[in-house]
């Protein structure tokens, strides 16, 4: 067995790969959070719960309606997006003028509510989600077995992140969105329906979370607790990357996933805290975040 720094390469690359997979999820979720925060100035605590909802929808589609993973990839995020529309139109709308803390509190309450409802019906230990047959098995890359599905996850996440970044930063629609947050009245004067944009942005952000949930279903157990486990790490990622920056969230998410993977090899005990330690350091050195602009 070849070794680097006394650690067998199989272990090192294996953990790095797992870290990359985790990092992809961090990236998608923090991307959604950053989009929502950038446009609405709301910290969407419900993001984790909606990610969990997406996973549950996929599970329900498969187990109640026999609808497989591929359709679920489209249907579940759409459903979560619809829920997002509902939330924005009936609740978040009233909080625009208030202190942003209320948005955080409201979405926190929604997260508790969603988690409680799913726990009531499905217990807390998690349900298995059947992997689609084409993904079963692994590539034997010599130094480890790379499960096919995890490779797929990495590819899709990268694609999603780049796609979102491109839409927001490089297209006209994205320009409207960015203008709409900076100066809604001016943009309204141009005849653009700002409230509609806001609603759609929220729906898109949570739809991304829902999609992440569907992709997570075969890897992690579909459990009501999966959202809360991940959301706080994602918050830390967003603080490190800088709240307004989309590219920042993507890069930071992936980087942190990799760093987590590395710590698991060398010093496993701190792997769950390393994200927060980095956050503390970044706060001391660059309070606005690595890629952020002080808002």
């Amino acid at each position: 067995m070849t070794e680097i720094f006394g650690i067998p390469t199989a272990a090192l690359f294996g953990q790095l790969l797992l870290g990359l997979v985790n990092g992809s999820f961090y990236a998608i979720l923090s991307l959604g959070l950053a989009v929502i925060f950038g446009m609405l100035n709301i910290v969407n605590f419900a993001h984790g719960a909606l990610y969990m909802t997406g996973a549950f929808f996929a599970w329900m589609l498969l187990n109640y309606a026999g609808i497989n993973y591929w359709y679920a990839l489209i249907l579940a995020p759409a459903a979560v997006g619809l829920i997002g529309v509902l939330i924005e139109k009936t609740m978040l709308r009233w909080l625009h003028q208030l202190d942003h803390l209320y948005g955080l509190l409201l979405t926190f309450g929604l997260a508790l509510l969603l988690e409680g409802v799913f726990r009531e019906f499905y217990g807390s230990s998690g349900m298995p989600y059947e992997l689609p047959a084409v993904f079963r098995g692994a590539f034997d890359v010599g130094f480890m077995m790379l499960p096919k599905y995890r490779a797929w996850v990495v590819v899709v996440s990268l694609f999603l992140c780049l796609f979102t970044w491109y839409v927001i930063e490089k297209t006209k629609l994205g320009a409207y969105l960015r203008a709409g947050t900076e100066n809604p009245n001016l943009v309204k004067a141009f005849g653009i329906n700002v409230p509609l944009m806001v609603t759609l942005t929220y729906a898109f952000g949570v739809g991304l979370a829902g999609l992440a949930g569907v992709m997570a279903a075969p890897i992690y157990q579909v459990s009501p607790l999966m959202g809360s486990n991940i959301i706080i790490v994602v918050f830390a990622v967003v603080v490190i990357g800088g709240m307004g920056s989309i590219l920042g969230s993507i890069i930071t998410g992936i980087a942190l996933g990799l760093i987590e993977g590395l710590t698991k090899v060398f010093y496993a005990e701190i792997s769950s805290t390393v994200v927060f330690i980095i956050m503390a350091i970044v706060l001391m050195v660059r309070p606005a975040g690595l890629f952020g602009r002080e808002k």
């Binding site: 650690i7 199989a10 294996g14 230990s125 692994a138 890897i219 999966m226 993977g261 698991k264």
Partner: protein
């Protein structure tokens, strides 16, 4: 004037209250025998105990006749969600305010330790079936109130651990659930491995109810040990085994599920679980008696067959009720004395005895999971590989570290 009235009223209340409570002492406290089933109803151990345990307790009350000395027997239950603080809260209220006389089941190990300590403090009987930590009859024993009925980590390691080491698995790496049970199991199995000429390469701890075991299994793979010992239970064991299959761990290493029940095998499916060795204190398909009871159970549980924990809840509850009847009262000391004096002979165990340290000693069985070809249908999962007598499986009384029993 008002104050006088108030003090008269208080005096009257006391006057009536005191004799009423005294009258009960000959018979049943509160005029009823209340049994509390404390378990995990919806989390990682819900299949292990959960609704099945409640059903088993109710079956015991039913088979006993439903009444004792003409008074009712009540069964209450609560879900502690695997949190010791909720467990303590509920049990405290049960003992202080609701007049519960005995609590049974009490998985997981952290909960069991809390509940047994509480029972010791309040002088109420606590029967632990679903938890396995050997601390219950050693460092943290409560000989006057606590009973450890089913199996413990010593028995698990003595039966399964020894069998696997003898089979050639002489280097081990542990995947341990990071709480009392996991630690106990890792320690006790480690001792057995070393005592039989093997060595322990290392261990990694995971939080209770972990969904994704991939990174832990990678560490297990890189340890180079021949055997990866799963010092966890319930949903965690099921998920570890699934992840091991996904990562191809079983190609080069062997898995040892140190605590696995028939319900876990049901969740895994024979394709994944075949060939695994495990030990249980009871199996539904052992003999006509066990089969008959299993049928009764599955009628109230949607066709699911009972595991050894459910059978233990049934047997211990029945044993308790018989002891109350024989003692003529539900007073703790009298009932405990009866339970110790009477051997247990029912569908669960033959010749089972309750030791002074709280340990119920009974036979343990070594099983191997059948291949899909060998199984005739759902729940037909085990073939019996051997029976280990209680004396061999459990730690001898002389070696117990229970300070309270003066030897």
């Amino acid at each position: 004037m008002k104050r006088k009235l108030l003090s008269v009223a208080i005096a009257a209340a006391l006057a009536f209250g005191v004799p009423i409570t005294q009258a009960q002492q000959g018979k049943l406290s509160g005029d009823v025998v209340k049994i509390g089933v404390l378990t995990d109803m919806s989390g990682v151990y819900a299949d292990y105990g959960g609704p099945g345990a409640v059903a088993a307790a109710r079956l015991a009350v039913q088979d006993f006749g439903g009444k004792i000395f003409g008074k009712n027997i009540e069964v209450v239950n609560a879900d502690h969600q695997n949190k010791p603080d909720i467990a303590k809260n509920v049990t405290q209220q049960w003992f202080d305010r609701d007049g519960v006389d005995m609590t049974v089941e009490n998985l997981n190990s952290a909960v069991a330790l809390t509940v047994q300590a509480l029972g010791k403090e309040k002088n109420k009987i606590t029967i632990v079936t679903g938890a396995a930590t050997s601390r219950l009859t050693n460092e943290d024993c409560a000989p006057n109130t606590g009973i450890h009925y089913l199996m413990d980590t010593v028995a698990l390691s003595n039966v399964v651990g020894k069998a696997i080491v003898k089979d050639g698995g002489d280097s081990w790496f542990f995947l341990t659930a990071d709480y009392a049970f996991g630690h106990s199991l890792e320690k006790d199995t480690g001792e057995v491995v070393r005592a039989n000429g093997g060595k322990v390469n290392g261990a990694v701890r995971h939080p209770l109810s972990t969904g994704d075991f991939s990174s832990f299994l990678l560490q297990a793979q890189s340890s180079g040990a021949k055997v990866v010992g799963l010092a966890n239970a319930g949903g965690d064991t099921v998920n570890s085994i699934k992840a091991a299959a996904e990562f191809g761990l079983t190609k080069k290493q062997n898995l040892a599920a140190l605590l696995m029940l028939v319900t876990d095998v049901h969740a895994l499916g024979l394709n994944t679980a075949q060939g695994l060795y495990l030990t249980e204190g009871w199996y539904w398909d052992l003999n006509p008696e066990t089969r008959a009871w299993a049928d009764k159970f599955s009628k109230v549980m949607n066709g699911r067959k009972p595991n050894s924990n459910h059978a233990a809840v049934y047997s211990s509850t029945l044993h308790y009720l018989k002891a109350v009847q024989a003692a003529g009262t539900d007073d703790t000391a009298a009932v405990m004395a009866r339970m110790r004096a009477t051997p247990i002979n029912d569908m669960f165990a033959k010749g089972g005895t309750l030791r002074p340290d709280g340990r119920m000693v009974h036979d343990m069985y070594l099983f191997q999971v059948k291949t899909p070809a060998e199984s005739k249908g759902a729940w037909d999962y085990f073939k019996l590989k051997g029976t280990v007598s209680g004396a061999e499986a459990f730690r001898p009384l002389a070696q117990s570290t229970c300070a309270a029993i003066k030897k």
